[in-house]
Subunit: 427 residues, 2 copies
């Protein structure tokens, strides 16, 4: 990790640039994949699965038998952990369900909003080295709670043509049965446009590699919504010497092991604390199986020395981290200073991994500065709010003239006439 001073950032000498998914070559390749899937449907999905995942898939949909076969392969221990995590995630997300009262804005003019589930949603769960069953919990639970009618899952098969048992167990645990063995940009294309087997989803969720990310961006330009723009995962920690350097080091590393393009920041007002954390990192790093990844990620990461907490929160708000750990004295006096962040972890005993897995908050969060305008995934991500209005005859008498005058001033006379005719009929 590079040690720098906040003044260097303020002076524009150092830019905390994060990796972005944009890449013309990949974009063109993804455009081609999407257009081929639109044309060729299931057959094209099978071709890509053969060439990218190295396996020939006959039935894209995971069968009941495959699910039943997977269930006993998951340890009792993991099943219990998933159950506890799911309980917490459910509890936190249920609290987000809301209904709004009707509002009578004027006599006889009644307006309200109603939350209605998005009918068909698609969840992308990456495959690769580790099975991200936690992401399935984070997307599947709010989708179920929101009441989405059709929840489909796409995830790439392994070299044996199978989906990892932990993924199938988690899907089954959540009551999700529509699982398709397809990954990459082709999976996103399939969910966005539909194929013979895979239904068209109205909104697509989930993380993925650059191909997946770019595919989601591209389909979002053409009538399929997506959860949010995605980028490499990131963490900022604001700490003072009341924090525990060992814990801070472990949190920085838990982010750094995500991928070589991850970035972590430690924002601190105490140089000796920074040095301590640095030593702890060196020490802990030795034990990590994903050491090589973490090292690369740390190379693009920074210890930033700030002179006080005002600078610390200024920097954090400008950076708008996906994850923000705040481990400082009198932390509750500072929480209102947080303007831009995806998810905030308070104090010595709130590691980022708690939120990644089991505390209840969602781990699908805005990266790459998008926390300035985006929220993480929640129940809200799986519903839309439809507005309603019911105006009575007396209501239109009360509001009619206002509408007429405004319409006339915008030179929209048919708009005006729709009111004038009604007022005439009443009088």
């Amino acid at each position: 990790m590079n040690k720098i001073n906040y003044s260097e950032i303020k002076a524009g000498k150092i830019i905390l640039k994060r990796d972005s998914a944009n890449d013309n070559e990949i974009t063109n390749r993804v455009k081609e994949i999407i257009s081929n899937v639109i044309k060729g449907g299931d057959e094209t999905l099978r071709k890509y699965t053969l060439s990218y995942d190295g396996i020939e898939i006959k039935d894209l949909k995971v069968s009941e038998d495959e699910i039943n076969e997977a269930l006993p392969q998951v340890s009792r221990q993991l099943k219990d952990a998933i159950k506890i995590a799911a309980g917490n995630i459910s509890k936190f997300h249920k609290n987000q369900i809301r209904s709004e009262e009707k509002v009578e804005t004027m006599d006889g003019v009644v307006c309200w909003r109603k939350s209605v589930p998005i009918n068909i949603v698609g969840l992308y769960i990456p495959g690769g080295t580790a099975p991200l069953f936690s992401t399935l919990l984070m997307l599947g639970i709010p989708a179920k709670l929101a009441g989405c009618k059709k929840i489909i899952i796409c995830t790439p098969p392994g070299a044996d043509g199978k989906i990892h048992p932990a993924i199938l167990y988690t899907a089954n645990f959540l009551g999700l049965k529509e699982i398709y063995k397809v990954g990459g940009a082709q999976a996103v294309a399939a969910m966005a446009y539909g194929t013979e087997t895979i239904p068209k989803a109205y909104k697509i969720f989930g993380p993925g590699n650059r191909y997946v990310t770019i595919a989601k961006q591209l389909v979002s330009l053409e009538n399929t919504a997506i959860d949010m723009p995605a980028g490499p995962s990131e963490l900022a920690i604001i700490a003072d010497n009341s924090a525990n350097p060992e814990f801070v080091a472990s949190d920085l590393l838990s982010q750094a092991e995500h991928g070589v393009d991850s970035q972590v920041l430690l924002i601190c007002n105490d140089e000796s604390f920074i040095d301590n954390v640095n030593k702890c990192i060196d020490c802990q790093l030795e034990q990590l199986p994903r050491k090589e990844i973490a090292i690369k990620s740390l190379e693009r990461s920074y210890f930033v020395f700030v002179k006080d907490m005002t600078e610390a929160f200024d920097l954090s708000n400008e950076y708008a981290p996906e994850h923000l750990i705040v481990s400082i004295k009198d932390v509750y006096n500072y929480l209102d200073r947080i303007e831009n962040a995806g998810s905030v972890f308070i104090g010595n005993y709130s590691p980022e991994s708690a939120g990644d897995y089991a505390s209840g908050t969602n781990h699908t969060l805005p990266t790459n500065g998008n926390a300035k305008a985006y929220s993480g995934v929640s129940i809200d991500s799986f519903v839309k709010n439809i507005t309603f209005q019911d105006i009575s005859a007396s209501g239109i008498k009360n509001i009619g003239n206002t509408i007429e005058i405004m319409a006339e001033n915008e030179e929209l006379f048919a708009h005006k006439n729709a009111v004038t005719l009604r007022l005439k009929e009443i009088n």
Copy 2:
């Protein structure tokens, strides 16, 4: 308007295709505009304003004097109407502000969400023939209520180099003083990337022509959020013979006058009612200043005969209209059937123009089928929800093992270690 039968749609013989903004030639032109604005800043904005709006602008920012000069030019009548509409819009949107309770998902694990305003938002208000002060109300009021710190407005100047007095009056009425005389894709680029004069906004709102729409799409791929994908305005009406054919005709026309690319649908189970509406349209059309626009829009519009209300709501849900008027017997028995729509108007006395101007609901709504996954603009559009968690030492003891097991199964050992170290310290 074309008379068709729902069976022809179901059989795929007729597709209710709407106009989409995508156009390669315009996209390339917009990309060039954006990159020029990034490079050239204010000077480039002035050049484009000269060539597109035909006027040389020295100061991009509207001065206090210009605002003061505009105020007396707005009629008392319009001022009163704006005040009433603003009151209703405020009342309805205030009801959307919410706070969530903290949730203790397990003993010692406390999680919550906090609504935090998006700091800097940009509102695009189109210029052209009519001054859309109503859009400024619909965007400015929730932005103010949400607590956005900086609310900037871009709107193109007229041939005299001025902004329409009704726009300036409305901005001033709402307490918005940062108004810039620039329109089109160049305005979107300026708000997305910032120039010497115009600050960078984190999220851009507002309607516009194809250039504006495509510019918003493009900047949304690069770290600036937008309200929603935009398309031509549209209306579907579900009516039976309890509706008033004159009113229905006036509502169809009020939508049709928006633009030649607007589409309207009348979904009805009574052929003679359809014929009556058709006659009323012919008759009302004669009186309209925007007759030529409405005629073109009606050419791409449909009367759809359905055999019953089940078909009517099936079609409406599939179409997912921006505006939906439902004027049928026992209407409240049917409201739960509405799955996809932007805003719903109930009964004989709820014309779409009420929602366009003054009833209180927002008129910035998802078009082109996007109501399947998107909501209209609301308070929610101007905030993001940050999650927080505070885990105590006893909390991490309760949840720690669950996290360790899950992290281990995802092969993320640094994630596990962040918990293990804490558990060790406690025990």
